[in-house]
Point group: C2
Chain length 118, copies 2
DNA sequence: CAGTATCCACAAGGATACTG
DNA sequence: CAGTATCCTTGTGGATACTG
């Protein structure tokens, strides 16, 4: 799900290209659990690894960990250590991550409309 | 990018689950070129394979063909043969595909805002 | 608790060549 | 023109076990 755009996105090489803008976004929320993680953080605010894992449930810790790292690299999620012993980490959205709200909302709305009564 | 939700999405098993609604959408537009194809069709209306391929450029015909088949299966794109000799096919969005506009717009807007001046 | 280390299986992107 | 057939490589999700 990434080659040309992905990294260069951040460098701004494709500002005027429409499909490029789209793939840039897809690179950030185009993996299976990425948009779900962002949605959870958007809804319930900052939370720890375990809480996040429980609220999503189907995702394994390996994958969740990988996704979070990915989102951190994208500048969407902020990871911060709250305490060392016991280890406690908190994940929160960065402003950039919060700006994804319209995208996540649109995705949720469309997915919901698929099985809406009317 | 799909296991549980993907197919069941259409069956409506997860209507009340928020993250599920999101993954349902991700299953449809979460692959590299899917949202771009939908965007092109949304912008310029129905078009043939070659036109689509040119307007996206970076995608190989193998992948584009695969993506279109995928979108057709998702009920987002309608494929119709216009002429047999020479073979001419036209791809258009279904109503379901058109309803993706808010999602695509949000994605394009976010991607664009990444390198916007202000 | 919050991961990392491994390993696996399969999906997906892509290149090249060929066909109805 | 609009693909299909092959083959290849990497990405990605996932399970299990182990660690600071």
């Amino acid at each position: 799900m990434s080659d040309a755009p992905s990294e260069d996105c951040l460098a701004g090489w494709c500002a005027d290209d429409d499909w490029c803008a789209i793939t840039c976004t897809a690179d950030v929320v185009g993996r299976k659990w990425h948009p779900v993680v962002v949605a959870r953080l958007l809804d319930d605010g900052p939370m720890g690894f375990a809480t996040l894992a429980e609220s999503i449930a189907e995702v394994s810790n390996t994958v969740l960990s990988d996704s979070l790292e990915d989102l951190e690299d994208s500048g969407v999620v902020d990871r911060r250590i709250v305490s060392e012993r016991p280890l406690r980490v908190e994940y929160a959205l960065t402003p950039r991550g919060e700006s994804l709200e319209p995208v996540i909302d649109a995705m949720a709305a469309w997915g919901r409309s698929e099985h809406a009564p009317g």
